[in-house]
Amino acid sequence: MPIRNTRIIGGAILLAVFAILALPAFTPAANASEAVAPVSAATTATAIPAAQAAAKATDVPDAKAVAYPPAPKLTAADYPTFKGVNSRVAVWLAAQLHLWFGAFVLAVPIFVFIIEAIGMATRDERYDQMAFEFMKVSITAYSLTALLGGLLTFILLLLYPDLFRYLATIFKSSMFAYALLFFAESAILYVYYYGWHWLQGGNKKWVHLTLGLLLNAVGCLLMFLANAWTTFMMSPAAVDAAGVFNGDTWAAIHNFLWNPINIHRLVANVAFGGSIIGAYAAFKFLSARTKEERAHYDWIGYNANFIAIAALLPLPFAGYYLTAEMYAYSQQMGITLMGGVFAWIFIIQAVLIGALFLSANYYLWCGMGRSEGAYRYNSRIKYIAIVLVVAFLVWFTPHTLVLTNAELKSLGGPYHQYLGVLGLMPAKNTAVNFLILFTFMSFMFYRRANKIATASWVTTGNAIQIALFTVGLINITLLGVYYGYFTNTVYKVAASIPQVLTTLTIIVVSTVIDTLMYKGAKEVAPLHWGRMPARSQYALFLLAVAFTWLMGLMGYVRSAIRQHWHVQGVFRDNSVDAFTPDLGYAANIVSIGTILFMAMVMFIFWLNAINSRRVAAKGYWKKPA
C-alpha cells in the first residue's frame, strides 16, 4: 500500500511539475527580435554554436506573423438575449461568486502552509490539527469554485460571445495553460489533503510541506493568469486604436495594471480567507456542546482573526498602490474613479472598513478576558476605542456635502472652512494610518496581557516604544495637516508615502523590541481558551460578512470604471446594459451576491458538521455470522 501511495504522490508531483514547465511554452517571447536578443547575448557570453543559437531562435513563435482581428463593432442586436434574464446581472453574479470562492480556496493553503510549518518548528500538534481543519473547509469550497468557474464561462459564451471570442483569440495560449494548471492544482490539492495523516513525521512531513508549497505556487499562477484577462480589459496592452492585437501572450498578460492587481488580490485573499475561517470557528464555537470543543474553536477563531487582521493591515497600502497605478495608466480613469460618479463608493467603503477594524478590535478586547493579567490594560482600551471612532469619522467624511440651497448659503460654499479638508486624501491617509497603528496597539496589549517580562531592560524598552509611537503619530499628523491645508491639489497625495513608511517603521521596530523584551517572559496564568462571550463570535461573523460585501463592492467599481467599454478604449460595449447604474442598484446586486455566497458557505459549514457525526443505528445492520 505505501508503494502505491508513493506512486500516486509521485505522479501528481510529476503532473504539476510538467504543467509548470509547460507554461513558458504557451507564453512566447515578446516578439521575434526580443526572442533572438537573449540568444545572441548568450552566444557571446557562453559561445553557444551559431547553428544552435539559430535553432533556438526559430523555435520561438513569431508573434508578428499572427494576424489578429480588430475589436468587433457591435450593436445592441448583436448581444444574444434571453427572456427574463438580465445579461449583465447574470455575468456579474456568476463572476463575483466564482471570485469569492476562488479567493477563499487560494488563500487558505497560503496560511495553512505557514501554520503547518509553525507546527513542524514547534512540534505542537495543535497547529497541525488546525491546519488540517482549515483544509477540510477549503476542500468542499474547491468543488464549488470549479462549478462556478464553469458557470461563468458558460454564461459569457452564451450572452457575450463576441467579447469572449475577442479575449480568447488574444489569450488562447494562457487559457490552455490555465486548464493545465487547474488539473495540476486539483491533483496536488487532493494528495495534500487526503495524504495529510499518512504523510506524518520525519521526511514524510517534509514531503507534505513541499506539496503545500507546490499547491500555493500553482494556485498563485492560476490567479495571476486569470487576473491578466481582467486587467487587459482595463489597461489593454499591445493593441492599436482599432483593437488589433499586435503583441504576444506575455505582452497581453504583462499589461499595466496586472502586477498592482496581483498584489492587491493576493493580500486581500488572505484577509478574506482568514475572515471566512473565523466565521466557521465562530459557528462551531456557538454550536459547541463541551468545554473542550469551545476551547478548541475559540483557539481557531483567535488564529483566524489574527490572520485576517495581519493581512488587513497592509491592504490599504496595496489598494493605494493599485489606485496610484490606475492614475499613472490613465489620469482620466483615476479621476473617474476617485472624483467622478464612483467617488461616493469610497464613503461606503469607509463604513465597511470602519466596521472591519472595529469588529476586529472588539474581538481582541473580548479575547483579553481569557487572561488573568489583562486587567492591567483594561483601562486603556477606551482610549483606543475613541481614537478608532474618530479616525473612522474622518475617513467617513465626504469631500462634497449634499446640501440644500439654504445650507449652502449659510456655509458659504460646498465645503466647510475647516472640516472640508477632512474629505481630502491627506486626512483620510492620516485616519487610516491611525486605525492601523491603534489596531496594532490593541494586538500588542492582547499579546502582553498574559505575560510578565523578565528582561532587565523592560523600562528602557517600554520607553523606547512609547517614544516611537508618540513621534510617529505626531509625524503622521503633521504630514496630514501640512499636505491637507498648506499645499495645492497636485501635491496633496504626496503625504501618503512618508505616512506609510512611518507606520511600517513603528510596527516593525516595535515588534522587534517586544519580541526581544518578552523572550522568556513569565505567564501570569494558563490562558482560559473558550472563556469568551457569545457576542464576541458575532464580531467574527461581522468580519466575514463585511469582508465579503466589501470585496463585492470594490470588485464592482474595478470593473465599472471601464464604463461603456468591454476593453477600455478599444472595444465598446453597445449592449443595452452599457450604462453605469447608480450606486444603490450596484449595492443591491452586491447584497444579493453576498447572501448567495453566505448561504453556500453555511452549506459548507453544515456539510463539515454532518461529516463528523456518527450515528449508531442499533439493530439496522445484520451482525456478522
Binding site: A241, A282, F283, L286, S287, A328, S330, Q331, Q332, M333, I335, T336, G339, G340, V341, W344, I347, I348, V351, L352, P398, V402, N488, T489, V490, Y538, F541, L542, V545, A546, W549, Q563, H564, W565, Q568, G569, V570, D573, A578, F579, T580, P581, D582, L583, G584, A586, A587, N588, V590, S591, T594, I595, M598, M602, W606
Partner: protein, 274 residues
C-alpha cells in the same frame, strides 16, 4: 438550529444595513448614459454655433474639465491663446507646429510635444504628458470636433479664432455623408437598396428574389391602393395595418432615409403595379 438561525439573521441584518446605507445614506447620482456619436450639421453652422459646440465638447464628451480646472491637476487654459505663442518659442518644445492653431491641435493629439513645467507624468521630468490623445481611446474626438474645441479655446482665451468650420463630415456623420450622395435613379435600385423583397413579394422586375411573406404582397398593390395610401404606408407603416399582418414589423425610418425624389418614384412605381 437556533445558532444557525441566529447567525443567518445577524448576517442578513448586516447585509441589509450595508444595502440600506448605500441606497438611502448617500446621494443617488444617476451617471450619464454612454456618449452617442452625434450627427454634426456643420454646413448650416455659424462660427458662434461652432464655438459653442466646441465648448460643449470641452465640458462634456472631451472630459477636458476633469483636469483643466482650478484644482491644479493640469494647466488652466483661460489664456491659452497667448500662452501658446510663447510655448512655441520654448526650448523644450518638441513639436512641429508653426501657428497657434497647429500648436493647439498638436496639444490635443500629441500632448507630449510640449509639457508645461510641473505637469508631466511622475518621474518623466516633464517630458511626458499624462494627457491622453483625444482622438483615440475613451474620448475619440473626430477632426471636426477637435477643430471646434480649438475654436472654443481661442475664443474663450480672448484670441482671434483662426479655425474655419471644416467642410468634411464629422464622426458619426456617415448618414449625412450618405445623404449627400446622388438620389437613386430607378425604383429597382430603391427596392434593392432597402431590401423591400425581404418581407414583400414585389413582382414585375428583376431585382433579386422578391418573395418575402412577412408583409402583404405588392405584386398588384396599385390595383387596390391609392398613391396617398402607399405614401403613408412607407412613411408611417403602422398607421393602417393590412388584415392578417402584425404591427411594428416594418421600419419607421424610411421617411428619414429616402429622398423626396426617391419616395415619389417608389410611390409611382407601386401605384403602377396592377
Amino acid at each position: 438550529m437556533t445558532n444557525f438561525l441566529k447567525v443567518s439573521g445577524f448576517s442578513l441584518l448586516m447585509i441589509g444595513g450595508f444595502s440600506a446605507y448605500s441606497n438611502f445614506g448617500i446621494p443617488q447620482i444617476k451617471p450619464a448614459p454612454p456618449p452617442v456619436e452625434e450627427k454634426l450639421e456643420l454646413g448650416a453652422m455659424t462660427m458662434d454655433q461652432f464655438i459653442a459646440l466646441g465648448g460643449k465638447i470641452y465640458n462634456e464628451k472631451g472630459t477636458c474639465t476633469l483636469c483643466h480646472n482650478a484644482m491644479g491637476r493640469a494647466p488652466m487654459l483661460d489664456k491659452i491663446g497667448s500662452v501658446a505663442a510663447e510655448n512655441l518659442k520654448n526650448p523644450n518644445y518638441k513639436g512641429a507646429a508653426k501657428t497657434v492653431e497647429e500648436y493647439l491641435h498638436e496639444s490635443l493629439v500629441k500632448p507630449s510635444a510640449f509639457v508645461v513645467a510641473g505637469f508631466g507624468k511622475a518621474g518623466s521630468n516633464d517630458t511626458e504628458s499624462p494627457m491622453p490623445d483625444v482622438s483615440g481611446g475613451g474620448i475619440g474626438l473626430s477632426e471636426a470636433e477637435i477643430a471646434a474645441v480649438i475654436a472654443y479655446l481661442q475664443d474663450s482665451s480672448g484670441s482671434e479664432v483662426t479655425v474655419s468650420i471644416p467642410a468634411m463630415p464629422a464622426a458619426g456623420a456617415e448618414t449625412s455623408k450618405a445623404g449627400a450622395t446622388a438620389p437613386l435613379k430607378t425604383p429597382e435600385e430603391i427596392i434593392a437598396k432597402y431590401t423591400c423583397g425581404a418581407c414583400h413579394v414585389v413582382a414585375g422586375h428583376a431585382v433579386g428574389s422578391q418573395t418575402g411573406t412577412l408583409g402583404p404582397s405588392l405584386a398588384r398593390i396599385g390595383a387596390t391602393k391609392s398613391r396617398e395610401y402607399l405614401r403613408q404606408a412607407i412613411l408611417d407603416p403602422d398607421a393602417v395595418i393590412a388584415k392578417g399582418y402584425a404591427a411594428g414589423m416594418m421600419p419607421r425610418t424610411y421617411g428619414e432615409q429616402l429622398k423626396a425624389q426617391e419616395l415619389e418614384m417608389l410611390v409611382n412605381y407601386l401605384a403602377g403595379l396592377k
